[in-house]
Amino acid sequence: MSGKENMQTRLQREIGELSSSINSLIDSFRKLKAPLVESHQKVPQATSQLDKISEQTEAAAHRMLDMIEKITQREEEVIRGLGEVRALVGGQQDQHVVSLVTTIEEKANTNLNDTYTIMDALQFQDITSQQMNHAAALLEEIETKLQHILSVVGADTAPDVNRPSIKKTRAYDPHADLSDKRTQQADIDSLFSHEKAK
């Protein structure tokens, strides 16, 4: 076999292998298409689910705040009323009534402080809402990337007519978390003092 024939055989073999690789690649793309399309369709469902959780949690937090504000107002009225009772019975020597007023006052003040604690604890909603917005933004990013991949493999999907055409504006801190911030606050205070002193 001449050198030329040898080269030709090698070339044919290389082309054959290349063709087989391309066919295998096309086959892989075909197999990928269906799961890619499915994922692309499921991602918006996950985003929408997160938005719903966020909205429902916010609505629930507002309902709780409505109730807390009403309870707070009632307790303040009770405390004011008890103050008036104390003034009325103040001159009397009925220790039982005075002691009873004091006990009810203490309980009303405890209730009031507890409502403030519950109200402060509701800050969780603001933070979890930011965390969910961050997760939703990441899902939207994945959806866009999947759309690009699908268009490259020639599997563009029709847009969902039920989806709003304008994307939700998301204001969030990607690092928002619920941990106790007292130490961090102390560090921030020290940073502020340091920078101001410059």
């Binding site: 705040l65 109200m119 909603q125 930011q130 969030y172 801190d173 911030k181 940073l191």
Partner: protein
């Protein structure tokens, strides 16, 4: 979060509170209302807190207005950026009512 802050402010004796949904809304309200100090978040729709503070500081009438930022952002670079924009003090969420009161006192006390 706004309702929690407003309730905390009322407990601290600040009964005349003007509420705004974001920086843009706050700027509109500041043009028609008398404002003695501002509490702002960072992450807000339409106009974020940083843009709001920068805009306010660019207006002659609000150059010395005390501004307190209350936000989840606690990365050092963010805090430095907020300081550069012109905030007078900074609280990281979640906060305690005591911290809010202390910072308001600091901001109003100079």
């Amino acid at each position: 979060m706004r309702r929690i802050i407003i309730n905390t402010l009322k407990r601290a004796g600040f009964n005349d509170v003007i509420e705004a949904s974001d920086g843009k809304d706050a700027l509109a309200k500041m043009k028609v209302e008398q404002v003695n100090f501002v509490i702002t978040d960072w992450n807000m729709p339409e106009m974020d807190g940083l843009t709001f503070v920068t805009t306010v500081r660019g207006m002659d009438e609000f150059k010395n207005l005390p501004i307190l930022m209350v936000t989840t952002r606690s990365v050092k670079d963010d805090i430095l950026e907020a300081m550069k924009a012109g905030v007078n003090n900074y609280i990281v969420k979640p906060f305690t009512p005591e911290t809010l009161k202390a910072k308001i006192d600091q901001v109003l006390g100079g």
